[in-house]
C-alpha cells in the first residue's frame, strides 16, 4: 500500500469529504444554521433565549458532523420495528441515549416541574377570569391544526400532514416549548426538531410578533384601561390550588396528567412551605441540568438529511400562524370581557394567555404603559399567562387523547 493510498483512504473516511458527497450539502447548511444560532444567542446585540439556543445550536452542530455517530442507533433501540436481536444499548450514540429522555417524556415533565416551582399562581387566584383568557389564547393551536390538514387537500397530496403531525404543529401555538416537544415526540417524532425550533424561536420573538396584533385588535381607549388592584391571596388557597387543579385535569383529560401533574407538584413544593430544598433544586439545578440535555438532544435531531425539506418551511410558517391566532384569541376575549365588565378589563392582558412565561406578560405591561404611563398591567397579565401554561397542557392532552393510539 502506497502512502498515496493511505491518504486517499484517510480523506474518504473523513467527515470533510462526506460533506461534499451526494447529500452532504444538507449537513453543511445545518452547520451554518447552527453557527448563526450560536451568534444570535451569544452576541450582546441579540442574546435570543441564550439558555436554550446555545444548547440547541450546539446540538445541531454535533448532529451534522458526518460520521461521528453521536445520534446513531445501530441497536435500533428507538424503534421496536428495527430492533436488532442481542444488541446492546451502549452501542448507540451518546446523544441518542440522552435523547431517550425526550422520547420517554422525562425531560419535558421535569422542565414542567421546574416551571411549577418558579410560578406564582397568586394573580390567577386573585382574578379567576384570567383562566378564560388563557383558554382563548389556545385558539392558534386549532387554527394551525386545521390549516395543516387543509394543506394536503390544497396541494392535491403533494405535501400533506397526518393528523398526528398537524396536531403536533398546532401545539406550537401554545407557546410552550416542553408541551410542544412532548406532543411532537409522541405524535410526530420525525418532525420534533423543526417543531421545537419553531416553538422556541417564536417564544423568543414574542416582543416582535404580539404588539402589532394587539394594536390592530384594540382601540386606544381599551388600551388605556387601568385595572384595579388584585386581592390578596391566602397561603392556604395557594396550597390547595395545585392539588385540586391536578385532580380536575387528570380526571377529565388523563393524557394531560403527566405535564399538569409535574407542573403542580413543582408548585406545591414552592407553596407548601416545608419543601424549600426541593423547590430550590427544581427551580435551579434540576431545570438547568434538564435544559442542557433537552436542548442539546432536540438540536441533535435536526440532522440535515431529514431536516431540510418543504415540510420544515411549512412548519415554520404554520408556527407563526398559530402564534398570531393564539394572541388574537386572547385579545378578542379580552375585548369581550371589557364590554361585559363595563370597561374594567384591559384587553391587552389577553395576549398574555399564550403560555410563554413571563415574556408575554411583559409585552402586555410594556404595551399598556405606551398608551397610559400610569398603567401597571404586569400582575394582571401574569394571571392569563400562567393560565396559558395549564391551557396549553390541557390542549396537548386533548390532542394526545385523540391521536396517540
Amino acid at each position: 500500500m502506497s502512502i498515496v493510498d493511505v491518504f486517499a483512504g484517510l480523506w474518504s473516511s473523513s467527515g470533510l469529504s462526506q460533506l461534499f458527497t451526494a447529500d452532504g450539502w444538507k449537513n453543511l447548511i445545518m452547520i451554518i444554521v447552527a453557527l448563526v444560532f450560536l451568534f444570535l444567542a451569544i452576541h450582546p446585540k441579540f442574546r435570543f433565549e441564550p439558555l436554550l439556543l446555545v444548547p440547541i445550536a450546539f446540538g445541531i452542530l454535533l448532529a451534522n458532523m458526518p460520521s461521528t455517530g453521536l445520534m446513531a442507533d445501530p441497536a435500533g433501540l428507538m424503534d421496536e420495528a428495527q430492533m436488532v436481536e442481542g444488541a446492546h444499548w451502549y452501542n448507540d450514540g451518546v446523544l441518542r441515549l440522552i435523547y431517550a429522555g425526550v422520547k420517554s417524556s422525562i425531560f419535558p415533565c421535569l422542565i414542567f416541574l421546574g416551571i411549577g416551582a418558579m410560578t406564582d399562581f397568586g394573580p390567577l387566584l386573585a382574578n379567576p377570569i384570567s383562566l378564560l383568557l388563557g383558554a382563548a389564547a389556545q385558539l392558534g393551536i386549532y387554527v394551525a391544526f386545521m390549516i395543516a390538514i387543509s394543506i394536503g387537500k390544497i396541494t392535491g397530496g403533494a405535501v400533506s400532514f397526518t393528523a398526528g403531525e398537524a396536531a403536533a404543529i398546532g401545539i406550537i401555538g401554545g407557546a410552550d416549548g416542553p408541551t410542544a416537544i412532548l406532543t411532537a415526540s409522541k405524535l410526530a417524532p420525525q418532525l420534533l426538531a423543526p417543531i421545537a425550533l419553531a416553538a422556541y424561536s417564536y417564544m423568543a420573538l414574542i416582543p416582535l410578533i404580539q404588539p402589532p396584533i394587539m394594536k390592530l385588535l384594540t382601540t386606544k381607549k381599551e388600551r388605556e384601561v387601568e385595572m384595579k388592584q388584585l386581592r390578596e391571596v391566602s397561603k392556604v388557597e395557594k396550597i390547595i390550588f395545585p392539588v385540586v387543579v391536578f385532580i380536575i385535569v387528570a380526571l377529565l383529560i388523563p393524557d394531560a396528567a403527566s405535564l399538569v401533574g409535574f407542573l403542580m407538584l413543582g408548585n406545591l413544593f414552592k407553596e407548601c412551605g416545608v419543601t424549600e430544598r426541593l423547590s430550590e433544586t427544581a427551580q435551579n439545578s434540576l431545570t438547568n441540568i434538564v435544559t442542557i440535555m433537552l436542548g442539546t438532544t432536540v438540536g441533535a435531531t435536526a440532522n440535515g438529511q431529514d431536516f431540510i425539506q418543504v415540510k420544515t418551511i411549512l412548519i415554520v410558517i404554520l408556527g407563526l400562524v398559530a402564534f398570531s391566532f393564539s394572541t388574537a384569541g386572547g385579545v378578542i376575549l379580552g375585548k369581550l370581557l371589557y364590554l361585559i365588565t363595563g370597561g374594567k378589563i384591559n384587553p391587552l392582558i389577553g395576549s398574555a394567555g399564550v403560555s410563554a412565561v413571563p415574556m408575554a406578560a411583559r409585552v402586555s405591561q410594556v404595551e399598556g404603559r405606551k398608551y397610559n404611563p400610569k398603567n401597571f398591567l404586569l400582575m394582571h397579565a401574569m394571571g392569563p399567562n400562567v393560565a396559558g401554561v395549564i391551557g396549553s397542557a390541557v390542549a396537548a392532552g386533548f390532542m394526545l387523547l385523540m391521536f396517540n393510539h
Binding site: L124, A135, T162, A163, G164, V244, I248, F403
Partner: protein, 126 residues
Amino acid sequence: MEINAIALAANVYTPDTVLGISEALKVSITGVCVVMFELALIACFILLMAKIFKLANKNKKEEVKKPVEAPKPAGTPLAEGNSAGKLDLIDVDEPTAAVIMAIVSDQSGIPLNRLNFKSIKKLEDK
C-alpha cells in the same frame, strides 16, 4: 362519527390518520370547547374557594373582635417633632433617600406618614 363522544373518537384515530377537513373542524371545535370547559371549571373552583375563605375569615374576625383603641385615620400626619423611627442610610445621601421614599409612596399609593423605612442601602453594580 359522533364527535361529542371523545372516548369513541380516541379509539378511531391514530397519529397516521389522514383527516378530512370536516373531521378536522369537528376535532378543533371539540378541542376549543374542552379547553374552555376545563379552565372554566377551575375558575369556578377558585371562586368557590375564595368565597369559603372570605366567609371563614369573616367569622374568625367576629370571634376575636375585642374593643381596641381606635386606629388613627389614614393620612393623619405625625405630630410635629415626632419621629417615625430610625432610618439607616448606607452609602446614600439624604436628598436621594428622600426621593426614593417619595417614589415608593407614590407608586404604592401609601402616604409617607404611614410608611416606615428601616434602611436604604446602595447596592454595588454587578
